[in-house]
Amino acid sequence: MLASRAGLIWLAPATAIAVLAGPVLAGLAGTVLPAFGYFPSLGGRALSLDPFAALLAWPGLPASVWLSLGPGLLATVLSLGFAVLICAGWQGTAVFRAIERALSPVLSVPHAAAAFGLAFLIAPSGWIARALAPLAGWQVPPDVLILHDPWGLSLVAGLVAKEVPFLVLMMLAALPQARPEQSRKVAQALGYGRAAGWLKTVFPRVYPQIRLPVYAVLAYSMSAVDVAMILGPTTPPPLSVQVLAWMHDPDLALRFQAAAGAVLQLALVLVALALWRGAEALVATLGRRWAEGGARRAAEGAVRAGGIAAAGLTGGAALLGLAALALWSAAGVWRFPALWPETLGPAAWMRHGPELAQPLRDTALIGLGAVALALVLALWCLEAEQRGLRPPGRTLSLIYLPLIVPQVAFLTGLQALAIGSGLDGGPGAVLVVHLVFVLPYVMLSLGDPYRAWDRRFGIAAAALGASPTRIFWRVRLPMLLRPVLTAAAVGFAVSVGQYLPTLLIGAGRVQTVTTEAVALASGGDRRVIGVYGIVQTAAALVPFALAIVLPAVLWRNRRGLRHG
């Protein structure tokens, strides 16, 4: 009996790894084969290096590669830097709690919607330029290269605006284990400033916890397609965008080159991760020297000011962009240099409202299904781990593969596999693919609070005769309700945002608010983009709101659990 139960719980990590790594590895095979010339339905039956030769002959390649590496690394450094400034300068203050509360709406804005919002803020015909127009005397927008700049700075801004809140959320989840309050008190008692104390005592313990999320940010920033298309350079574009363009080219022979490009993109991400890993060691060495140097202050004022500026800039950009989307969704005529639309009306909402019902329903069903499965698997894995049943070595980190491997590198291969096995085209198949992306995020946000749970509650319950299963259901899960709901909300937001996986595996027949949004947005009408951006945000925001409200309602007579 005992053995079989242990066996059952052992299955958890194995299942999770199979569900996540399986599709990624299979999809990769479907990309690597064409990259080496094997693609029978296009006449490629022999292995060759021609696709790579064609890729190398493309004159835009050096710039394209640089635009994947440069902005990707810069966005990651800035995002991590901003997140650290915010936490180092303000953790444990009222300001920090306000930032915490503002996180959910910012996190709920899908990447593409946030990019559209930012684009309207910073474009030469955008809100900022409109505000300056009377002062500068602009009758027509200035001809300055802000969006699509060849250095990718607009792209970096768009990525940072979305990744800072994500990293702050991940730090929030990791912080309790580092016991920052105690460290801060000790450090301050020894005369260290708030920022110096945090950087020297808390950060070294928090960073290992958020290392995976940072890698995910790096991989995403280097290979994101949607944000890069809205904000990034176009002559040439970053590699991932070019790979997608080749995949969509009417000249089907370019599929080989596209596959080679996708393999190169994967290699670039791996190289960048290795570079990052090296930089970690360097920073650790320098940081240790600095920490042991004993300096009590770390430009305290600058860190605090930087923190508040970082929070204000990223949060402000996201929220103002959201406001711009909302305003556009109700705008009639709204031309440069007017700061406000000439007419407001519900026309766009009336036109698109009725067609939203079905995509919203499918979005909810797929999201709820994927999140439910992800929660079961994540809790199962974590509980197994708590009972000492860890899979050997680091095999469990395989479940983070979908966050590291660029989507362009495995999704088309995965699509061919899904068609071949007859599993595609339905909401069920889409749900399974969403699970691939939802589960790692659920694990990321749930893992730390789960491990940080005070085991003495379990020991007390066991002493009262409760079985491990009963402890799980009656003590641990209720106490962890809030982090579980937060993880569910994060997972749901991830599911809502999926575009390429939904399109490729759903055969275009499964329509979510995001697939509809991207198709309709291709027409460029800002009012339509506004409506769908707001709807996407709302769809992702509702679970975050529930994650805050539900524990308060359920535990209204259990004061100690409310902040669990």
Binding site: G60, P233, P236, H248, L252, Q415, G420, G508, R509
Partner: protein, 405 residues
């Protein structure tokens, strides 16, 4: 590696075991109608336009009423998504029951699908409503970018390139490519075109090539040798070398498609845009996107025109239903609605003189959009060059202007 490959191929073969059902024959139209009743047709069509989406929704309601066919509009952001889908199905050996029943397609995508044998065998020229067209008089119906359609796609709308300008800022718009170059030199930063290989951007290159080349006849044939190609395209590159520094953002960035270009016109970032739908400016004014001071203009000597088509993939699931929809799209009822500028405003593919008198009267009574040129002012329609020119132009454009050199 090779064993894995063999296993993969064997799996694909095993899965393709389903025999392909016999293709419905439109010559026996009653049988097609009977087979179509109850089918669901997944129509993969670009979804970026409210106008088009509204028209397709209307057509769906009508074919459901009339023929019991359910039409599902799969809204694409790029037609290539559907092409990729069919290709992926072929890769996986799925020769029947495919996810795409009907695609809105033309030009390069059609040429590629035809060449890769991804389309149903000829059917379109046997549709009942084909008799209402005049393929001899309107050669665009049987040659898509000069590639013979061979009955593998059915036309459903006539498009023609038209420029738009804001009369609030421009009195006399440029009437030739050369004049457009001069105008840009005088007004730097106020014109741009969608970045090739975007469909509209490549069309701009072709329009410029036709206007500037000393050998326009060459363009009807596949690209000849390099020497003739260089000779034919030399003036185009000279023109673009001069134009590029005067473009919006000095040509260091381009709008990705015609919709973005239109948005730039709406935002006042540029003064001249263009589109393949001569009624597009009127539609945009009606929806509040463009100011009502925008008007259309064309270049002396004519503008490129072509037809929009629908095609059925070789492995489509609802082939009979797709044929019924294609035939309905060519019906006088649907064509009248499509040509109505308050609905869409595309040109009709029908030969109006072949219609019943009441239908002829209805076409004659169609109003004209506020910014739309009357047919006689649209000038001659230039044929599309052979698609191989487009491929070479796009490659060379990318080399010269698309990689930041």
């Amino acid at each position: 590696m090779s064993r894995f490959v063999t296993a993969l191929a064997a799996g694909a073969l095993a899965l393709s075991g389903l025999p392909a059902l016999a293709q419905p024959d439109p010559a026996d139209w009653d049988a097609v109608l009977a087979e179509a009743r109850g089918q669901t047709v997944y129509f993969n069509a670009w979804g970026g336009s409210d106008v088009v989406n509204g028209f397709i929704a209307w057509a769906g309601a009508r074919v459901a009423e009339e023929y019991g066919v359910t039409l599902e509009h799969v809204k694409l952001s790029d037609t290539a998504e559907a092409v990729s889908r069919v290709l992926a199905e072929k890769t996986a050996g799925q020769t029947a029951g495919g996810a795409v029943d009907l695609i809105w397609i033309n030009g390069e995508n059609f040429a590629a699908m035809k060449q890769q044998r991804l389309l149903l065998e000829p059917w379109a020229d046997s549709l009942p409503n084909w008799a209402l067209t005049d393929p001899e008089g309107n050669t665009a119906l049987t040659a898509d970018f000069t590639v013979p359609t061979d009955g593998q796609e059915a036309p459903w709308g006539m498009a023609k390139l038209v420029f738009f300008h804001d009369t609030a800022r421009i009195d006399t718009p440029p009437a030739t490519m050369a004049a457009l170059g001069d105008w840009s030199a005088a007004h730097p930063g106020r014109f741009t075109y969608p970045q090739p290989p975007d469909f509209h951007g490549s069309t701009f290159l072709k329009q410029a090539l036709i206007e500037l080349s000393a050998f326009p006849d060459l363009l009807e044939q596949p690209v000849p040798d390099d020497e003739l190609y260089t000779l034919a395209t030399g003036p185009l590159w000279t023109f673009l070398d001069g134009l590029t520094p005067n473009l919006w953002r000095q040509g260091r960035a381009y709008p990705q498609n015609a919709s973005r270009q239109m948005q730039l016109l709406a935002d006042g970032e540029i003064d001249i845009a263009f589109n393949f739908n001569p009624n597009e400016a009127s539609n945009a004014i009606a929806s509040g996107l463009l100011p009502d001071t925008v008007r259309s203009h064309v270049h002396d000597g004519g503008m490129i025109g072509n037809a929009s088509f629908v095609a059925i993939p070789f492995n489509a699931n609802a082939q009979a239903g797709a044929m019924v929809v294609a035939n309905f799209l060519m019906s006088p009822e649907a064509q009248l609605r499509l040509a109505d500028p308050t609905v869409w405003g595309l040109g009709t593919v029908l030969a109006v003189d072949k219609l019943k008198p009441e239908d002829q009267a209805a076409f004659a009574a169609l109003p004209l959009g506020v910014a739309t040129l009357p047919p006689q002012a649209l000038g001659p329609t230039l044929p599309e060059p052979h698609p191989s020119w487009m491929v070479r132009l796009e490659q060379d454009w990318m080399q010269r202007y698309g990689v930041g050199q």
